[in-house]
Every structure is written in C-alpha cells, then in structure tokens.
C-alpha cells in the first residue's frame, strides 16, 4: 500500500485526525451489504494481514465495522464537497447504532459498486441513503443487543445501545461494543422489516447541529484535498488544451518548454474518441518537478491548433437565436385546458423573454488529480463527485479491466457538478502511464474557466392571458436551450422532459390553461450540470414573470403569488412526462401546501409589506426543486449610481427531516451567495468558439461586500421523507433579487447577469 507523505514543517498535526489515514485504509468486507440489489460481497483488496484483523472485527454491512477495542468505524461513501455529507450520513448510522459519535472514526470509501451509487450530485445523498444508513446502524444494534442479551440471559428487547455500549437498564448492566464483537459477528444479519429505529424523541445526533468531521484538519491546514495529495516521487503536470472544444493539435514545438529547468517531459494527450462524454479533451502536457514550472513550460509551448467544427461559435448570436426559437411553437411537454381560446378571449396579454447565460462552476479548488500507473494497473486520488464513473472513465481511456482501476476520493474544494466529470482524472492517469511515475495534474484557473462543462444557456418566452382583474387565464411557456445529453450524444439537440421538468412543466399555478413547450437548440460546447441545473434559468423566468403579472394587475407581489399557488393540493401532473428527480410521485408528491407554507413564512420573517425608501426593495420567489420546498425574500439596496448591495436575505426551506440542521443552514447561506454571484456578474461567453473569460477578474464570484450581508435561514421542522438540500436554495435567489430590484428602482431585469446593465435611478 502506498503511504502518502504530507510533510508539514510545523510540529503540530501528529495527534490530529488526518483525513488521509481514512482515505487509504479502505478495506474489504465480510458480510452481506444492505444496499438494494447487492448481496454476497467479495473480500475486495484486503491483504492477508488486513483480512486477519478484519475477521476479528464485527462487520454487519459495508458501511460499518467495530473492532474488539470497541472502535466504531463508519464508511463515508459519498464525496465531501462542502455540504457536510461526510458527516451527516455517518451520523445516521451512529444514531441507530447507539455509537458514541465523538469516538467514531470515518473511513472514505474507494469507488466501488458495493456501496450503491456514489454519484454525489442531484442533492440526493440523504434522500437516497437515509434509510440505507438507518438499516446499517439498526441491524448492527440488533445483533449487538442480541449478543449481550444471550450473555446476560435476558431478552434482547430489554437492551439498548448507547455510547458504544449495550445496556440492560433493569439490571443496570453495561457492556462495551468491543467485548461483543466476536459473538455479534456470528449472528445472522436481521431482516430489514424486523429492525427497530430510534423514535424522534430518542435521537441524540440526527436533528442536532453537529460539527463536521473534518473541521480540525481544515482549520490547521492538514486536511487533504485533491490539490494536496502526494505520494513519493510525485511529478507535477499542466496541460494546454485547444481553445475551442472539438479542436486538436496540428503541430507542437516544445523546444523552449523543454529548455526550462525542472521540465521532465512533454506529452501529447490524444483527443477524445467519438463524442466528449467525460473523456479528456486532449492537448499537450508538460510534466515537471513542480507545478509552477509545468505551468510556465505550458505557456512556452508553441502549438498550432486545428480549431475544429465549433470555431464559429458566437454565444451572443446564439443567445439571440434561442430567443427567436422560443417565438415559434416547439415540442409540447404539458398541455392543460386549451390556451388558444383563452388567449382569444383575454382582455389583456403580457409576454416577456428571459435569458440566462452559460456559467462555469469555478470551484475554489480547480480540477486536479494524482494518479499512479504501475504494473498494468492504475490508482487515482481525486476530488471526484463520482468515483465509480471515474473508474469507468479510466477503464475506457486506458483500456483496463475494472479491477485494475482503483479510485480514492479526497476532500473536494467545492464541486458544484464540475467534479462529476472525470476528464481531469483521466489526464493524470494517461500522463502517469506515459511517464512511469506518479503524476499530479493541476488545472489553472484559466483552464478551469475555459474548459468546463458549461451550464446551459437558456431563453424562456412567457406569455399570459388575463381577465379584467388581471387574473391569469392562460399561460404559455417556451424554453430553448442545448440539453445536457448533447455531451454524450451529438444528435441530442432539443430540451428533454427531465430538464423541462425542472421548474417549467411542473409550474404549480392555479391557471386553467397551461402549455409548456421546448424548442430545439444544438449544443456548440460541452454542456454539463451545475448546482441546481435548469432550475436556475427556469425559476428565474417563471418567478420573474409572476412578479410582472402582479405589478400589471396592481396587486402586491406576495399576495398575487399566494393566490396563484391556489388551493392546498397535490399538483396533478398526470399525462406529463415528469422525472420528479427520479422519485415516484407517490413517495414525493408535489405538495402545494408545503410550497405555500415556506412562501408565507419567508414573507412574514422579512416583514413583507413594510415601507422602504426608493432604491431599497424586497422581492420574493418560491420554487420546489430536488423534492424540497424553498422560498426566498431578498432585500436590495441599489445606489443611484446603480450599484446593488444585499443587506439581507430570508431563506426558508422545507426539506423534510433535516439530519444536520447546521449544514442545511450553511447550504442555504451558501446558496444565497452562489445565487448572488450568478445574478451579479457570472457569465461565460464564447467568440470564435473560444471562451472569453479566464479568471476571477472577468468571471467574478461575489466577494464579502457583494454577497448577502445576512441570510436569515428558517428550516421547517418536519419528519417527512428527506428531500434535497445542496441545490434547493439557489433557484429562487435570482428572481427574488431581480424582483426586489424592480420594487426598488422600477427597472425590470430579464437577462442575467446584471453586470453591464443600467440600474441607475433618480
């Protein structure tokens, strides 16, 4: 096994938890996993020594082991990118098990299908794994209680697990987990339907504000991100990629680069085969003895590119074409009532076009990875959101069998969907194979901004028919954007139902006639998913338009919104092809009562309706996404010169059961800042196929004085099934903020971002 060396010159750190220990000690397992669809499990990659000591451990499932000293180790199988998931899911195991959380050790899982999905995106870690983790803990608890009961000659039902001990309260006896490991290990894993779970009142961790496991390491600098991982002999690489997606190297002169001291090798990375998917873009890499030298040498390469078929991509013209496309009929995704006669009978009509640009993810840690290719096998250490798909990509790109590819997950310095796509890990693997030594690849910020899988660019056309009082009687929504699937399938040139289902086909309004259409748009760059995906442009269009309708009807926007949400009911989407974030509507219906409740709470907490001087204003928006309900009120302060400040935001979420409320709160705070960034200044534009932005000066991220000064978060107390959290706070932000700008200044923003738009007032 490779032992990484993280050398710190300071003397501290030895007694601290070091993430790496867990990272590299993932081992096999012995008994059946409780992951749906998984049964007998292999020994995995355990050495004989591991195997012998593991035999002594109690391993009721893949997520949990207890050694004979009573040490509880819980496997974190999802990737930690800032949501706190590495803490929250293990908390659930510890809760049901009755482990002492303070002494629990976490181990980060390798990429391995035995854990079920490890694809950490779509805000689904808790909703997909809450019950799996409960079962993992509860089944071990049952076995430990049974083992203790047998020893004591009492009923297992009289026992309880607390603080990593089994207790028999009646006789005041207690026995540590460690002593029961051997006996418990001989018992059959109980059936899922026989398990006892902790009642809400009994819980000690779930529902409690809990510190993240990696806090100490983050604060003293010892936490290991993908940028930090090293093994002995590691070389450092940087890569030049074609400025236009789909282009390739024509010729390269590497003389000047090779002449730089510290440069070891210049390697050409072949262009991807077929269509992009997650393959590396190709290009020319320089491997050196440090990252700086590698970057300098890349800049010294003289490369002639064949720019390929996207060299005429002009995103400004493309944006105009999208708007034009939405002025013609498209594919119908939802059709309620009959809009045509309603429009004919209307006393008034209102229509508007909304536009939102490409965005780059710009995680604080740019893409990076370490890989070692040795003896026909590869091991990678990467800040990946999806180690299993990374394994697949490496398998394909290197032509290896899956058992020759091992993927370790480091901490991620932010992900936002970028690090679901493992092109950067494949680069490291290819380069290590070329060099015959471990290679760490670093993307510069320029690489990151210019070679992303971009958030789609969108136009939404909205048109309403209204009666005399301004009440909408019909609503037409048409959207055009290049679909995500175009990254995998070049023939995909139109919005899919799954994307339209993010906020357009599931518009919840009490309007009798509704039609939602999608209009064709062929992609000219790599499209990917970014935190909240199509919910961002869709919620922007829909909530802005509702605000416009309210003002047109001379009604308070909040009152208008509540009236438009209508009766408490489950939204009827029968006949609509609707993915519901891959959950059945029977389990996760669209519950108007919950959406209205968060909207009402947000309005109340913000003191909606209070008088504000010109230049200040409140805006409101609500949205259901990732099976949770969110409403946001933004207060803006727009100076006469048109500079927007955000003194306060009120954010209300109903995400069902909140496992770690502090991390739900921090996600809502972060979502507000993320929303502020994309509203204020975030946009990626392309000219002649090349991205025009390159770093934080021209792709700005909200800074301390630009982000909301204060975010008041309210989490609706709930025992409902958990919904998503990480992405849910983002969609309502931009429309709430733009609605607030309208209230403050009378200027309506229909195109994101704000930068370059005139918001001055007198």
């Amino acid at each position: 096994m490779i032992t990484p060396t993280i050398k710190n010159l300071s003397t501290q750190g030895s007694s601290r938890r070091v993430f790496m220990q867990g990272l590299l000690s993932a081992s096999g397992l012995l008994l059946a996993a409780r992951v749906p669809g998984m049964s007998a499990l292999p020994l995995g990659d355990m050495s004989e020594g591991d195997f012998a000591s593991a035999l002594a451990d109690f391993r009721p499932n893949v997520f949990l082991s207890i050694d004979n000293a009573g040490k509880v180790t819980i496997v974190a199988h999802r990737s930690e990118m800032g949501t706190g998931i590495r803490t929250s899911l293990p908390m659930v195991v510890a809760e049901e098990l009755g482990a002492d959380w303070e002494s629990v050790r976490l181990e980060q899982a390798l990429g391995d299908a035995k854990y079920g999905s490890q694809n950490t995106d779509g805000s689904r870690s808790i909703r997909r794994f809450y019950s799996v983790m409960r079962d993992a803990g509860a089944s071990a608890r049952a076995m430990l209680e049974q083992a203790a009961a047998a020893r004591w000659g009492v009923e297992a039902s009289e026992c309880d697990c607390r603080d990593s001990k089994v207790l028999h309260p009646d006789s005041e006896r207690a026995i540590g987990f460690g002593e029961l490991v051997e006996e418990a290990g001989k018992l059959a894993v109980p059936a899922s339907d026989s398990l006892r779970y902790r009642a809400a009142a009994e819980r000690r961790y779930v529902g409690q504000e809990t510190k993240i496991y990696d806090l100490e390491g983050i604060l003293d600098g010892s936490a290991v991100f993908g940028m930090d991982v090293r093994i002995p002999g590691t070389k450092h690489a940087a890569v030049a990629r074609c400025p236009v997606v789909g282009g390739k190297v024509k010729s390269v002169d590497s003389k000047a680069a090779m002449a730089i001291r510290g440069v070891e090798k210049v390697v050409q990375i072949p262009v991807y085969k077929g269509h992009y998917a997650f393959q590396p873009l190709g290009g020319v890499a320089v491997i050196a003895n440090n990252t700086w030298t590698a970057i300098q040498a890349v800049n010294a390469l003289k490369i002639e590119w064949d720019l390929g078929p996207n060299a005429d991509y002009d995103s400004a013209a493309y944006g105009k074409a999208l708007v034009a496309a939405t002025h013609e009929p498209g594919q119908v995704f939802r059709d309620v009532g009959d809009i045509e006669p309603a429009f004919e009978a209307a006393s008034k009509e209102l229509s508007a076009d909304y536009e939102a640009p490409h965005l780059a993810h710009a995680p604080m840690e740019p893409p990076c990875a370490l890989a070692l290719f040795k003896d026909g096998a590869v091991e990678a250490w990467a800040p990946t959101q999806n180690p299993q798909s990374t394994q697949e990509v490496l398998t394909q790109v290197l032509g290896l069998a899956a058992d020759k590819v091992k993927v370790n997950v480091t901490l991620l310095g932010g992900g936002f969907g970028r690090k679901s796509k493992s092109d950067f890990v494949a680069e490291a693997a290819l380069l290590s194979k070329e060099l015959g030594a471990p290679v760490h690849v670093t993307w510069t910020r320029e690489d990151d901004i210019r070679h992303d899988f971009y958030h789609t660019v969108t136009a939404v056309h909205m048109k309403a028919a209204m009666d005399e009082e301004g009440k909408p009687t019909a609503l037409l929504t048409r959207a055009s954007f290049p679909p995500i699937n175009s990254t995998f399938d070049p023939s995909a040139d139109a919005p899919s139902s799954f994307e339209i289902g993010m906020g357009l086909s599931d518009q919840p309004w009490a309007i009798p006639n509704i039609r939602v259409e999608g209009c064709k748009a062929a992609a000219r760059t790599r499209i990917g998913w970014l935190r909240s995906v199509s919910h961002i442009p869709h919620a922007f269009a829909v909530n802005s338009f509702v605000d416009e309708l309210a003002w047109a009807a001379k009604t308070d926007p909040y009152e208008f919104l509540m009236a438009l949400l209508g009766e408490d009911r489950m939204l009827d989407l029968s006949g609509v092809e609707y993915s519901n974030h891959s959950e059945p509507m029977s389990r996760y219906p669209f519950d108007l009562k919950r959406l209205k409740a968060v909207t009402k709470i947000a309005a109340e907490r913000s003191g909606w309706g209070r008088e504000l001087p010109k230049g200040k204003g409140l805006g409101i928006a609500c949205h259901r996404s990732f099976l949770s309900y969110q409403a946001t009120v933004v207060e803006v302060d727009v100076s006469q010169r048109g500079v927007v400040r955000l003194p306060k935001v009120w954010s209300v979420i109903d995400c069902g059961l909140a496992v770690n409320p502090d991390r739900v709160r921090s996600q809502m705070e972060g979502a507000a800042a993320f929303g502020a960034s994309l509203t204020l200044g975030g946009a990626v534009t392309m000219q002649n196929g090349a991205v025009q932005q390159s770093n934080f000066h021209d792709y700005p991220i909200a800074r301390m004085d630009e982000a909301p000064r204060e975010v008041d978060v309210h989490i609706v107390p709930s025992e409902d099934l958990p919904g998503g959290v990480g992405e849910v706070g983002v969609p309502p932000f931009a429309p709430a903020m733009c609605n607030a700008i309208y209230a403050a200044t009378g200027k309506r923003v229909r195109k994101l971002p704000l930068s370059g738009q005139d918001l001055r007032w007198e």
């Binding site: 949501t83 600098g221 901490l411 770093n695």
Partner: protein
C-alpha cells in the same frame, strides 16, 4: 540559494529559480499544502500567508522577496490549532468545503493583529480579496468579531 524562516524554522531552498512564487515553493518543494492555489493572479486570497506579519498572496510573491524574512503559513499560525481565529472559526462552524479557509484565516489573523476591534467596514476591506465560492462570508464576519472579542 534563498534562506528564509518558515513558521520559525530556517529553510534553505537552492534548487528553484528565485522567481518561483512562494506558493509553489511551499506546496511542491516543502510539502506544506495548507496554503492553497485558487487563481495564481492575486485575485482570490486562497494562498494568503504572512510575510513579516503582513498578509500577502503567495502566488505572486517570488521566493526572492522572502529572503531572510519571516513566513507564516496556516500550519504555523498556532502550535495547537488554537489561534483565536481558528477557535472562532470552529465555534461558528465557518467552513463548508474548507478550501478557501486557510487563506481566509490568514487574512483575518493579519487584520486582527493590526486592528483590535475591526468594524464591519474594516472587515470588508481586509477580506474582500478572499473569495469563498461556498459562500461562508456571513460566518467569517461573525467569527472575526468573536475572535476580536476573545483577543481583547
């Protein structure tokens, strides 16, 4: 050959060009990876360290500029991870992904060293060079006020 003091220890670097930014000397030559790379252009603050007590961006500070000077990195901000800033950061649960936080704390510690009771405006101007993509600003502000309280 450049000699500098890093976290109180004398260090000599002889195999790197003196124009190499300190960031990469720390990370790739000395294995001190607490100081982070975010932009390389003095735009994000992830690489913030102290040079003779002043916060500087190590991505644009050449090795030569640190000759015979005192460099403090996150690893040396305190012996036991208990600098008032680190304690306040823990108490306020500031980090999300954590990647920007070493730089944030180094900027905050330098601010507090020169300004005992910083106002919100002081905090804005000292911290606006540090980007947090996760959006932890509100807690950073709170933690700085709380650390100031603790240090008084």
């Amino acid at each position: 050959m450049t000699t500098l003091r890093i976290n109180g220890r004398q260090v000599t670097v002889d195999d790197l060009d003196p124009s190499t930014p300190l960031l990469w000397v720390l990370r790739d030559r000395l294995g001190m990876t607490g100081t982070k790379f975010g932009c390389g252009m003095s735009l994000c603050g992830a690489c913030t360290i102290h040079l003779n007590g002043t916060a500087v961006r190590s991505c644009v500070t050449p090795l030569a500029a640190a000759a015979d000077k005192d460099v403090t990195t996150i690893e040396g901000l305190s012996e036991q991870g208990d600098h008032p800033v680190q304690k306040a950061w823990a108490e306020c649960d500031v980090p999300q992904c954590g990647y920007c936080q070493p730089g944030q704390m180094m900027s905050a510690a330098a601010l507090l060293a020169r300004k005992k009771r910083p106002s919100d405006q002081d905090i804005d101007s000292a911290m606006r060079g540090n980007i947090c993509r996760c959006g932890t600003y509100q807690r950073i502000r709170k933690a700085i006020h709380s650390a100031a309280e603790e240090m008084k």
